[in-house]
């Protein structure tokens, strides 16, 4: 195999592995956080069904804040794949 081909193969492999790791590990935190938020919102709704509307809006807001680290890792993955 040519030397340049090997270098390019290592470069591509590194890019793919890096982007996959960034997205995969970065999705753990938001997953746990949003699961917690969803579970507690369900608890609250079961206890007080008349508060359902208010709880749902606040749950969505909290979800949006909790998933921001996942969004950062998505950005980093895109940067690694397309801009590096």
């Amino acid at each position: 195999m040519d030397k340049m081909d090997m270098a390019k193969a290592i470069y591509l492999a590194g890019k793919a592995i890096g982007a996959g790791l960034a997205m995969g590990i970065g999705a753990i935190g938001p997953g746990i956080g949003e699961g917690n938020i969803g579970a507690h919102a369900m608890d609250a709704m079961a206890r007080q069904p008349e508060m359902m509307g208010a709880i749902t809006t606040r749950m969505l807001l909290a979800d949006a804040v909790a998933e921001s680290t996942g969004i950062y890792s998505l950005l980093i993955a895109f940067l690694i794949i397309f801009a590096l």
Binding site: L61, I71, L75
Partner: protein, 278 residues
């Protein structure tokens, strides 16, 4: 609720839909190979004048957003009545709920109105510009070095100004400066300076980093959601050859995520300002 659509509106909506479908069919016929199609992903068309580099799509779409908001505001103001019409009821409900929220959060009475003005204008601008990201329109695709590659007609959405980090970082830094200016005004310069060294001087680096991380995360959250959503939709619509799916994804990322992120940006602005005032 029953929605009645008149004949004229039906013709307009139908012709718009037919235009979209024809342009999608043409886009699917002339689809470039994968590597070439994704090579321009995330790259923008920039123009350099002297030492200043500007991003034309952000400037144009930002102006459009301003014009939409000003048009709505003047049209509400023109027919201001005691018994509100539709538009006036919408505007009153929006501003009133925001005022309630600011009044509940901000502890100092003098700063309720300035905070309300800042947060509401941020929300309106970001919300309208995120809505642009759900409507198919004309967008500019650039090469890696910033020159114009092609103008895509109706195969992508209008480029929202919030999908550009410059816009978001400007607003986040604005909120940062405003919160500290309010803090100096409310507590006095000495107390503000002392708040950096609390609970003891060793914690100064922590406080500094904590404060500087606020505008960064504030702006990157919005940028990541809007720009990342756009890139995801681009990839998906390439995979399905622009067959019907992009419409629903544009709706999800533009309307649903866009509304929530605009609200989150405004609420965080209120929270950061009120955290400095206590």
């Amino acid at each position: 609720m029953k929605i009645s659509i008149e004949r004229k509106d039906k013709i307009i909506i139908g012709s718009i839909l037919i235009t979209f479908f024809i342009s999608w069919i043409f886009a699917a016929r002339s689809l470039p190979p994968t590597e070439e199609a994704f090579s321009s992903l995330g790259h923008r068309w920039v123009v350099t004048i002297g030492k200043v580099t500007i991003n034309p799509s952000t400037v144009i779409m930002g102006t459009v957003v301003f014009l939409i908001i000003v048009w709505f505001a003047t049209s509400v103001r023109k027919e201001l009545r005691l018994i509100p019409g539709r538009k006036q009821a919408l505007a009153e409900w929006l501003l009133d709920s925001f005022y309630q929220m600011v009044e509940d959060t901000v502890p100092d009475e003098r700063f309720v109105k300035p905070t309300f003005v800042v947060a509401t204008s941020l929300f309106l601008y970001i919300w309208v510009s995120n809505m642009l990201g759900s409507v198919p329109g004309i967008s500019f695709v650039g090469f890696e070095d910033g020159t114009l590659k092609e103008i895509s007609l109706f195969t992508d959405t209008w480029q929202p100004p919030t999908a550009d980090l410059n816009t978001n970082l400007t607003y986040a830094l604005m909120v940062f400066v405003i919160s500290h200016a309010f803090a100096i005004k409310a507590k006095g310069f000495k107390a503000w300076l002392k708040s950096w060294f609390e609970p003891n001087p060793i914690m100064f680096p922590m406080n500094l980093i904590g404060e500087l991380a606020k505008p960064l995360s504030h702006s990157l959250r919005l940028f990541g959601n809007i720009a990342g959503g756009g890139i995801l939709v681009f990839i998906f619509s390439y995979l399905v050859k622009y067959f019907l799916v992009p419409v629903f994804l544009w709706g999800f990322f533009g309307i649903f995520v866009g509304t929530i992120q605009a609200l989150v940006f405004a609420i965080l602005a209120i929270a950061y300002i009120s955290a400095q005032l206590t």
